[in-house]
């Protein structure tokens, strides 16, 4: 039996599941406790004190009671309400959901601190809600950066195998990104040079360069980023095929 007590943390709601008559199990990515699951009692009633605070995309300050099997949310205060603005646009909603699912899957262990993942998700949702960048680009930037934080950083310039300085014209998901002609494994693809430049810009956060890219290169970059993610996750993301690419 673990220690029983209260703790306070801030987190982003990733997913909610119905539990019993009026409760929900809330999956959150928190700043200090990593990914946690906690019960919000009575949250589905119209008069619940939580209201919309424990809906997906919400950034909340929480007080949680550490239970024996599942923790229980005692209080929740909103820090930022991204859900409203993300939901107002269907493309943004589908991209945002894929971001939440990615964050959940890449933080595989519960209660293991994942500060970088948390900060990346908050930043990603803020950018998505602002609407200044296309939703599809924000999602792809989030995917390549999350993988980098998880230790699967792809190389978009130098050869991922022998580190020979790039740019190179071959790309192989299993090999870790761009590969030189000598290292190229069979089945490598040859994306446009601009696509690799775009992916590199998304990884480093160069929005000016990413924003100047053409639609066909964006489509190709999305395909590569998704393939790279699916390769590193054992099961595919459910939400990714439903993302509406602009």
């Amino acid at each position: 039996m673990g220690p029983v007590g209260l703790y306070r943390d801030e987190g982003v709601v990733l997913r909610t599941q119905k539990l019993g008559e009026a409760d929900r199990i809330i999956t959150l990515l928190t700043r200090e406790h990593g990914r946690i699951r906690a019960v919000a009692k009575g949250v589905r009633r119209t008069k619940s004190k939580f209201g919309a605070r424990l809906e997906p995309f919400m950034h909340v300050d929480l007080q949680i009671y550490e239970g024996r099997s599942l923790d229980i949310v005692q209080q929740a205060e909103s820090l930022a309400t991204y859900g409203e603005r993300i939901c107002a646009d269907y493309g943004r909603y589908t991209a945002g959901t894929a971001m939440l699912e990615t964050a959940e899957r890449l933080t595989s262990e519960e209660n293991e601190p994942a500060v970088q993942h948390f900060l990346l998700l908050v930043g990603g949702l803020r950018t998505l809600a602002d609407g200044a960048q296309p939703a599809s680009l924000v999602l792809d930037a989030f995917l390549v950066r999350s993988l980098a934080v998880a230790g699967y950083a792809a190389s978009f310039e130098d050869c991922a195998q022998c580190a020979r300085p790039g740019p190179h014209s071959y790309f192989n998901v299993a090999a870790g990104g761009a590969v030189c002609p000598d290292c190229r494994p069979p089945g490598s693809v040859t994306p446009a040079a601009e696509t690799l430049v775009l992916l590199s810009a998304l990884l480093t956060g160069d929005w000016a360069a990413a924003g100047a890219s053409e639609a066909r290169h964006r489509r190709e970059a999305s395909g590569l980023a998704s393939a790279y993610l699916q390769w590193h996750l054992e099961r595919g993301l459910r939400s990714l095929p439903l993302v509406e690419r602009g």
Partner: protein, 199 residues
């Protein structure tokens, strides 16, 4: 563990939503002690519900015939459709006695994280109903949560070219609550939808 059929009954009851192992045991022993006529009535109700109930061909609501009671009723306004997620929502709205139009049950809400997209809901059937030109207003009454809002946004965008009047149920403060406990989103919506008090 109990013997044979008693344990089978407890196991089956335990599979129902909200019924735990203790509850299942309690119901099983209640049934054992109950009058045989009462038990037979329960058995009949269970058999009939599976045999007779199907989904209305027009709106997707539960029905005993090809069409549900509401779609069969000639007094209902055919020009208005209220879109809901589940049949349970139809019952909730009917209780208000405020609405006289017809319904369309989607069978859920768009939830990419659960792998549910527009193709998994009765969206195509709704579009077919709207295409006949009889409908003038579409009321989006999906749940006021994230998935429900996203589903409403999706549908509103989809039917926009048809030039219908598309409305969404109002969100705001629950009757009988305290203002200070309202969350920012709900209170914000209540402000957005405030109305003129003409006394």
């Amino acid at each position: 563990m109990y013997e044979g059929v008693v344990q089978d009954l407890i196991d089956e009851l335990g599979r129902l939503p909200g019924v735990g192992p203790k509850g299942a045991q309690r119901i099983a022993f209640h049934l054992l002690a109950a009058d045989p006529t009462d038990v037979r009535r329960l058995v009949l109700a269970l058999t009939e519900v599976k045999e007779k109930v199907r989904f209305c061909k027009i709106c997707g609501n539960v029905a005993e015939d090809e069409l549900c009671r509401i779609c069969r009723d000639p007094r209902r306004d055919v020009a208005v459709i209220c879109v809901v997620e589940e049949s349970k929502d139809v019952v909730a709205i009917e209780k208000t006695r405020e609405y006289r139009g017809r319904y369309h049950v989607l069978g859920g809400a768009i939830s990419p994280i659960e792998g549910i997209g527009p193709d998994d809901l009765r969206v195509k059937e709704l579009m077919t109903r709207l295409a006949d030109g009889e409908i003038t207003e579409l009321i989006l009454a999906t749940d006021p949560n994230l998935e429900g809002e996203a589903t409403a946004t999706y549908l509103a965008r989809l039917v926009k070219p048809m030039g219908l009047r598309v409305t969404r149920l109002a969100s705001g403060l629950p009757v009988g609550g305290d203002l200070e406990y309202a969350d920012e989103v709900t209170l914000g919506r209540a402000f957005e939808g405030r109305r003129l008090l003409d006394v």
